[in-house]
Subunit: 524 residues, 2 copies
């Protein structure tokens, strides 16, 4: 389709773009999230591929939410129907999917750094080509964008950035820069030429604008405003069916009497079931922008000043704040409560978003407490207890829950989040988190650990009764719960055969969560 | 001393400050690194404590390199002589050392986030007090500073930032913002009032300036220039004595024939023995600023464009780029070589800087290769091989070495970085990295693994011959080499008793590296 596009006269581009949008809509109906973000940049996408000689010229997208038109243009129109399903194409950019996807992305704010990397590679070899990055106003709130602008501006090379401004990523964009619309001063201060185009959905204007910017060279930012069509139905969770719903309900109760509690989120409230809650408690929910490092340090300092700070964060984005968790929270013994959402496999979003690393990382952080609820009411109990215990904590508390359905089926009482089924077997299944609820009652004993750090004091005593212990956790890596149990066995010096059941040491593709869990052998 | 300071007339402050500087110099001689940074802000420090009612008013320092005068003023003048030694005071800010150290720091760019956290805590309780953060121009290159400025500006509260500009952190400050001195536009674009004072070492001027800024309220940045005295002797490494020296020598050889190789460092070349090398190969060494996330993504994209990208990074700062290592490098199978310096205990810098987490984290990253050399010549062989193998790699390669002395004593040949001493014992010591060279020859067999990921294919075969295997690694956490071996034993289902010898699950204080290693039981 690219070839056909490049043979068109400029005057034909509007029709081409409109037809392309219709073709996309016909294929994806309402199945794809972020479709509006992509349709908003249809004209921009067509203009870029019309002017650039991709894939030799470099076109980098930030996150990839806006790249569905790009995918359609680059030989993946029909594949859009299979997007985000098992064996279908990815919802994000992906290098091994197409030579036109120069740099994969799923997390925000990496595109300008990637642009810098290409510039440096080309400077080293003397290669001359066009290099463009497209970044949204939401992604501009991430500090990595600033780092990249500040550094790239010092390189002796041409580079073009398109700032795609539609007032939001998933949530509306926060921060003074965007609120005051002071982008011109901002880019100038960092050494970039800047120009602004109001109507970024007028393809003739976009073409003219980009053409002149590309021709003039240097370091340029073209700021264009685009408009998202309104296709989406508001997401809602059926009461009592998801971990997200149970979390929101419990927090609602707490906020009624804890007016000093603040919940920070790096731009993810709306997609995690907290939207209505934020509307009701606007002072207590603070969207900081797409900036995990800042969010975590802010929470730490609020705690240092005696405040009640909670952080809502996706497991996959917590990877960006590991240092702040160690250096600002845990090392200083500060009581910050983390709601780690999307902990575990996320399903359709795939490998950029699977929350499979945080459990292993967090187990290694001194002073941390880690809770993995089995189901909705265990999650609620934990959230309630977190609120009660917070000021006595000596470090961070992480409550990790997956993007999954769940029900309420805990026994009425359970002791420190341990939950045991005794069948009189000499083999034990030891599990943690949501996968615990999928362990089939059978001939083996089963112990669910809601708290995996610190380990229960009587755990060695319990394990000593067994010949075999199978450890089941929704996590990757050499440590995690398995490593901790192996360490306990070594330190306490008793004999037991351990069996390891966790995510193997490779990236897991996209697909339905249950499908993936089954494939990985974590659920029957 | 604070009390005495606050009873002085303004006219007496110059003398007070000069005497204080002399008192400090008399105590620390040349033992303390970063002393110049602290003396440069002596006037600023005195002025701030004179005007603020610390510790009720909040004073936050970034990194802490500039905080020695602050320490002297706040009851720790005599302790400065013991700074950075075991049981002495810390080289950085530390909450449990003094109520005047409101927020600890050792890593850069956290202070404005911390300021935001205090503002939010005070907003929640209605508390009214002065809140000031002091940040250097080097720390301003870190994206977290931008994130914090952008977010904090939207809060309805007063906050004052002092930008302490002395053209450098450890290395001279890079980036367009500083080079072009466009701070006014920058801060304005983010919603901050801005003013500039050229002579930040004139205490009368500093007092007047700060006083008026504090009185006016709002969100204000006071940019002051300060001058470092020149006390330092240039650091140099005695040839052949440190891992850093061996690394630099080997890289020098490689750069002679690989003109397309680029080595990125987030602002740490000078302190890691690469200073002279950078002078000789200025095009190939790229200081990106204090911005680990950007550095790693840039390297990934350079690799995606076919370039040879290496990243030099301290283990403790690598914690800031875990996400980029996963999402941009490993997931995309990109061949980036990482020189992980200061891997392991760093000694005098203490818990903010110990490189004890990265080994555990990196073991969990799919597609990663991890090498831990035993000594200088193993490090050289690895660096040479990394350069030869790079373009065939299917993901990142990490070469980890500590801040330590080392010699050259490898046997002439060794096979894939395995190094075995066989004593005919049924017990094996299995170790990796520099601690391997401190294992005493004795009655046990000893296997050093230079490569711990992937594990050698024949490892299970080797281990099956032993009844006991002691695993020795300079790393914290439930995984790492120990977890990997425990996993191997579980997966291959053979019987062996494992003994774990690694850093226990708490933060290790500062002190001499050898002293700490001994205390932790990692060396005899």
């Amino acid at each position: 389709m690219i070839k056909r596009l490049r043979e068109l006269e400029p005057i034909e581009l509007t029709t081409f773009t409109n037809e392309l949008k219709e073709d996309i809509l016909a294929r994806v109906t309402d199945k794809i999230p972020h479709l509006e973000s992509s349709l908003a940049v249809a004209e921009l996408t067509v203009a870029l591929h019309y002017l650039l000689k991709t894939p030799e010229d470099i076109l980098i997208w930030d996150v990839g939410h806006q790249a569905y038109v790009h995918k359609a243009l680059t030989d993946r129109l029909d594949d859009l129907a299979t997007q985000r399903t098992k064996d279908g194409i990815s919802g994000f950019l992906k290098r091994d999917e197409s030579p036109y996807d120069f740099f994969g992305a799923g997390h925000a704010s990496t595109s300008i750094s990637a642009l810098a990397g290409v510039c440096i590679a080309d400077l080293a070899t003397g290669r001359n080509r066009k290099r463009v990055a497209v970044i949204g106003d939401g992604s501009m709130t991430g500090g990595q964008s600033f780092e990249a602008l500040n550094h790239l501006a010092t390189l002796k090379t041409d580079a073009l950035i398109v700032l795609n401004d539609n007032d939001g990523s998933i949530d509306p964009t926060v921060g003074a820069l965007h609120q005051n619309n002071r982008y011109m001063d901002y880019f100038h201060s960092l050494g970039w030429e800047y120009s602004f185009l109001e109507n970024g959905n007028d393809i003739t204007a976009v073409i003219a604008y980009l053409q002149s910017s590309l021709a003039r060279g240097g370091k340029r930012v073209v700021h264009i405003r685009t408009k998202k069509p309104n296709l989406s139905k508001k997401k809602s969770y059926e009461p009592g069916t998801t971990f997200q719903w149970w979390a929101a309900e419990q927090i609602r109760e707490i906020l009624h009497y804890r007016s000093d509690l603040r919940i920070f989120s790096p731009a993810m409230f709306a997609s995690s079931g907290f939207g209505p809650l934020r509307d009701d408690f606007p002072k207590q929910f603070m969207d900081t922008g797409i900036n995990e490092p800042h969010t975590v340090t802010t929470a730490a300092a609020m705690a240092a000043a005696g405040g009640r700070a909670w952080v809502h964060i996706y497991s996959t984005f917590l990877q960006r704040a590991i240092d702040q968790i160690i250096h600002d929270v845990a090392l200083q013994n500060l009581p910050v409560v983390f709601l780690v959402d999307r902990a575990g496999l996320v399903g359709a979003d795939g490998p950029t978003h699977h929350g499979v690393f945080d459990l292993g990382f967090l187990m290694d952080v001194p002073n941390a407490t880690i809770w993995n609820p089995r189901n909705g009411d265990e999650l609620q109990t934990m959230i309630f207890n977190a609120s009660e215990l917070q000021m006595k904590l000596d470090g961070p508390l992480f409550i990790r829950y997956p993007k999954d359905k769940t029900v309420c089926d805990s026994p009425e009482e359970f002791d420190s989040y341990k939950w045991m089924i005794n069948q009189g077997s000499n083999s034990l299944i030891l599990s943690t988190g949501a996968v615990s609820s999928r362990v089939q009652p059978g001939v083996f004993d089963h112990l669910h650990l809601g708290q995996i750090k610190p380990l229960p004091e009587d755990l060695a005593h319990i394990l000593k009764d067994y010949s075999n212990v199978l450890i089941l956790e929704e996590s990757i890596g050499s440590g995690g719960l398995f490593g901790a149990i192996a360490g306990l066995v070594a330190d306490e010096d008793f004999e037991v055969k351990l069996v390891k059941r966790k995510i193997s040491d490779k990236f897991t593709s996209h697909g339905r969560r249950q499908e993936l869990l089954k494939e990985l052998g974590l659920i029957p």
